[in-house]
């Protein structure tokens, strides 16, 4: 065939495309730092105990009570006579008032954070994304009603919303997810709505309509995949907000109930000793939160750069 297509063209295979994308991500220094910070906490969370490293130990017998791997100790383990000790070779960042190892608590805390933050963001994405898609695609009164309700929710300070929800339902992981979802969904809905408004004017949407496709097919199959870039970046940033939110709740004593080692609670517990010359608890929780949020933000920046480059 002699035609426009005689120009040779090789389609890169999927893996090499992935490698290229990763290579580009690594090309951005901000993204590398971000990725390193986030990976650090992910590895800590996964490897805190034997869960991944010695799975056979868990499966075979219960007598295999070895010391936790990366956390070194159990989060709730008290060490006799080791109350409020400064960092030492034994307790890397000291112990708290209940003689628990702060490092171990921080590492176990990362598990809670890294589990609850993504879940709450995903739930918020599902709720907010669907609402935004519907508001943007249908327009008219659907848009008006949905967006005005979400506007009203945005109007309430998020801290107040957390307080109301947690006061009403009591502290539990589920409530925390619910609180973050309720405060995050309106923002996601607004973003998705604006993307939908843009994408729905494209001809391929009209082509789908002339095939008589259902609105749901058009929204979720034709529109949503083309909005994924900005949504992904937004989700990264929101993950950071969620980590913050959970820290805030824990600090206010509204998070998970006391023995829980989540970072907010660690800071809260360490707060009283700040002036007593023992800042280690407060520092550990704060720095952990800060590094994770910073990592997520840098990663979002790096992704943004990549998307702009391909646009």
């Amino acid at each position: 065939m002699v035609n426009a297509q005689s120009v040779p063209f090789t389609r890169p295979a999927r893996e090499s495309k992935l490698r290229a994308a990763l290579g580009n991500l690594i090309g951005s220094p901000a993204a590398v730092v971000g990725l390193a910070l986030v990976l650090f906490w992910i590895i800590m969370a996964l490897g805190a105990d034997d869960l991944l490293v010695r799975p056979d130990c868990w499966a075979a017998s219960s007598d295999c009570t070895t010391t936790p791997l990366l956390a070194r100790y159990d989060a709730q383990q008290s060490f006799r006579g080791q109350v409020l000790k400064p960092p030492s070779a034994e307790h890397w960042i000291g112990t708290d008032r209940q003689a628990r190892d702060i490092w171990a608590r921080t590492v176990y805390g990362s598990r809670i954070v890294l589990l609850l933050a993504p879940i709450s963001v995903i739930v918020a994405l599902l709720v907010g994304g669907s609402l935004g898609l519907m508001a943007g695609y249908f327009g008219g009164w659907v848009d008006e009603v949905v967006m005005r309700i979400l506007d009203a929710m945005i109007g309430i300070p998020s801290i107040l919303l957390y307080l109301v929800i947690l006061a009403a339902l009591g502290p539990s992981p589920l409530t925390i997810v619910l609180a973050v979802t309720v405060t995050g969904a309106p923002g996601i809905a607004k973003l998705v709505r604006s993307l939908t408004l843009d994408i729905k004017t494209r001809d391929y949407i009209a082509a789908a309509q002339t095939r008589g496709e259902s609105p749901w097919y058009i929204m979720f199959v034709e529109i949503l995949p083309n909005a994924r870039g900005p949504i992904l970046i937004d989700a990264m940033l929101r993950m950071g907000y969620a980590v913050f939110a959970m820290g805030t709740l824990g600090f206010l004593g509204l998070g998970l109930p006391p023995p829980s080692p989540d970072w907010g609670s660690i800071v809260n517990a360490g707060r009283a000793q700040l002036l007593g010359g023992h800042p280690w608890g407060a520092l550990a929780g704060s720095i952990a939160t800060a590094t994770l949020v910073l990592g997520l933000n840098l990663l979002a920046d790096g992704l943004q750069e990549q998307l702009n480059r391909y646009r």
Binding site: M1, V2, N3, A4, Q5, S6, V7, F9, R11, G139, G140, W141, D143, E144, R202, D203, Y204, A206, A207, Q209, T210, R211, G212, E213, S214, P215, E222, P225, N226, R228
Partner: protein, 699 residues
């Protein structure tokens, strides 16, 4: 011999990219003398604009003049400091860009913007500057220039905006004026008026003009000499008469062959696309840059780089030499003398030509549209509107359109933007809700939105869209997008879907490897082919094509038109074809409807539309078409202003506000009475107060 205003000498421009330097322009040499207009034509991606930006060294951070020289009024510009160049650009070189809306600052009054040019560069007092602005606006035939100075750009129509941009460019009496596609964003009627203006100015002022356009017809109208660019090289440079009558480079010949002539139709002629596409500057062929697409290529062509050389000029013209112009004919092809320029006039392969229109006694009408109306509610508040409150204002996008279309024929719909062409098509296919009248496809009513139509009916009506970049969903592979209608309409059993997709790909002249590609890996023409394959996948009876080729380069446009014709012929599909290019419509369609402000002004067999008697609107449209042949004289009828707002259409005949023939109707009837339909020949109807007999005599 006079010194040229600007001359490029073996100019090469390169851009730094992550993959190293890319030479976007190589070995370009030309001179432009005082008062001369040089046109640069070529497809997109051939480096026309890069040359223009290179002349003023405005190449951005990663671009630079890699070699060669630019001499402006005897001084070399290469290596000058940014400051010197800025002064030069303000004082002696002006540029006019494609879209006037983006050239003018929307938050400044026109007067302030124009004044600024003079006060910054010439230290002129505000009063003098104002006076000069007014003279300049008069010069570009701006009615009431004093009032225009007080307006903001959005209060002025597109054509007027471009006049202002041109006036601004001329304020400092530049020695060189660079115009980069100055009329591409404008409607054909407005384009004609702006081109007239440029031609007039060219006569009055002695500025050298570099005129860049992809449209050969436009270049034929305003330029004295034409340079044809291909893949970053100038391949032919000659006087305008020479280029069109005696083109020597195979690319120039190919370009001229690829465009339909006004008046040629599919029964008597055919289009010859250039195969392949423009190579990327990073992957140039080793020999002649055009060799991979050239029909005349010899084995040596793929090895030898071609050089620009002079050949004897056949046409030449005496008045050009008077201007100090060299009348040489240069071409970058060693076979130039052996190529017969008459070749490009051939009517070519007859296999695609369709039989001339024969009207059977009782043709089966597939589509019957009667007094169709589509009004949009505009303004008002959505929340109030939801409860039926608030002010309602109807945009009458389509307002009483009637026509019938026989099976297997094509109806072309033409008209300026804003005339309701697209809305008409969208209403028929069910993307917009009709507010009145009726439309029937065979025996089925089309009054429901596509979502609520029976799937059997939905399948019969499909659409081909204008913008190749938006017609395919970027998230899915080509194969998946062609599959969807096959599965949805259950055209073939699921097991055979893949085979059918392959068959469709072959039908649009693409091979199997396209199945897995993503839309961003395709060129514009390829995307448009996939769009066509998708539309024809459901084997529809009626295909609506909304400007399917207007976003494509001419060589590709020809291929896509041929493809559509072939598929239509094979399936006996009925088509409605929207286009703003009257030559394309004439070529493609059996019937033509001329729309204006939501109504049909004239409808009939294609050949009847292109010869008198005509509706005055059709007459003006025909007069405005830029014809790629400088030897043809066209009547000079120009329309002012733009299509009136469909919110508030004019009373009586909708066209009366702009009609050049209005004086022929007594008693102001045009303003008060809606004209009756007059018939002239079989199926040819005109909506005008002027009697048909009188319309046929108009010249």
């Amino acid at each position: 011999m006079e010194v040229p205003v600007i001359s490029a000498k073996n100019l090469a421009i390169s851009y730094e990219t992550r993959k190293g330097d890319i030479r976007a322009v190589r070995d370009v040499s030309f001179d432009i003398f005082k008062g001369e207009t040089l046109g640069l034509v070529g497809e997109s991606g051939c480096g026309k604009s890069t040359v223009a930006f290179g002349l003023v060294n405005y190449l951005g951070r990663n671009g630079k003049v890699a070699s060669g020289d630019i001499v402006f009024q005897g001084e070399s510009l290469v290596g000058k400091s940014e400051n010197e160049l800025r002064k030069l650009r303000g004082n002696k070189i002006s540029m006019v860009y494609q879209d006037p809306m983006t050239s003018l600052n929307p938050v400044m009054r026109v007067g302030e913007q124009m004044n600024e040019v003079l006060t910054t560069h010439q230290n002129m007092s505000r009063e003098d500057a104002r006076a000069r602005c007014i003279t300049m606006l008069k010069r570009v035939y701006m009615p009431v220039p004093e009032a225009v100075l007080e307006r903001y750009p959005h209060q002025i129509s597109g054509g007027q905006q471009q006049r202002i941009v041109i006036a601004m460019a001329l304020l400092n009496n530049p020695a060189l004026l660079i115009m980069d596609e100055p009329t591409t964003a404008l409607d054909v009627t407005i384009e004609a008026a702006v081109l007239d203006l440029i031609a007039d100015l060219r006569r009055d002022i002695d500025t050298a003009i570099l005129f860049i356009s992809h449209n050969l017809g436009v270049v034929a109208r305003v330029c004295e000499r034409v340079g044809v660019m291909y893949a970053g090289e100038l391949v032919e440079l000659a006087s305008v008469g020479e280029i069109f009558a005696n083109p020597r480079h195979p690319y120039t010949q190919g370009l001229l062959r690829a465009i339909p002539r006004l008046g040629s139709d599919k029964a008597t002629s055919m289009l010859h696309p250039i195969r392949g596409r423009v190579p990327a500057p990073s992957a140039l062929p080793p020999g002649c840059v055009f060799e991979p697409r050239c029909d005349h290529a010899k084995p040596a062509c793929s090895v030898n780089r071609q050089i620009m050389r002079e050949i004897p000029d056949v046409i030449g013209s005496a008045n050009l030499t008077a201007l100090g112009t060299s009348k040489s004919h240069k071409v970058r092809c060693e076979l130039a003398e052996q190529l017969d320029p008459k070749d490009f006039l051939s009517t070519g392969d007859a296999s695609l030509m369709t039989a001339p229109l024969t009207s059977p006694e009782f043709p089966e009408m597939v589509l019957d549209v009667d007094m169709l109306r589509t009004h949009y509610r505009s303004g008002g508040n959505a929340l109030l509107g939801a409860f039926g409150l608030g002010k309602q204002n109807n945009v009458k996008a389509v307002d009483g359109v009637s026509f019938q279309l026989p099976r297997g024929k094509s109806l072309g719909v033409v008209g300026e933007s804003g005339s309701g062409k697209s809305t008409l098509v969208k209403t028929i296919i069910g993307l917009e809700d009709m507010t009145g009248g009726s439309a029937r496809f065979m025996s089925f009513s089309l009054d429901k939105n596509a979502r609520h139509r029976d799937i059997g009916l939905v399948k019969e009506l499909q659409m081909v869209f204008q913008n190749p970049d938006a017609t395919l969903n970027p998230a899915y592979s080509v194969g998946r997008q062609i599959e969807r209608p096959l599965r949805r309409f259950k055209i073939v059993p699921p097991a055979e879907v893949r085979g059918e997709v392959t068959r469709l790909l072959h039908a649009v002249k693409l091979d199997d490897s396209y199945y897995d590609r993503l839309p961003r890996q395709l060129s514009g023409g390829e995307k448009q082919r996939i769009g066509i394959a998708r539309a024809f996948a459901g084997r529809p009876d009626l295909v609506l094509a909304d400007e399917p080729v207007s976003a494509l380069d001419v060589s590709v446009q020809a291929a896509v038109l041929n493809l559509l014709l072939g598929i239509q012929k094979e399936h006996g599909t009925t088509m409605i074809f929207i286009a703003h290019d009257l030559s394309v419509v004439r070529f493609f369609c059996d019937y033509i409807a001329v729309m204006y402000c939501g109504q049909i002004m004239e409808i009939g067999p294609a050949e009847a539309i292109y010869s008198p008697p005509n509706h005055p609107y059709t007459e003006s449209l025909l007069a405005a078409v830029p014809i790629p042949d400088p030897s043809i004289a066209q009547s000079r009828i120009r329309l002012d202003g733009s299509v009136p707002s469909p919110l508030n259409p004019p009373s009586g005949c909708r066209f009366h506000t702009r009609c050049p023939r209005r004086g022929l109707v007594p008693n102001n009837r045009c303003e008060t009475d809606v004209p009756e339909w007059q018939t002239s020949g079989v199926g040819h109807r005109i909506s005008c107060h002027i009697p048909v007999a009188q319309l046929s005599e108009l010249k």
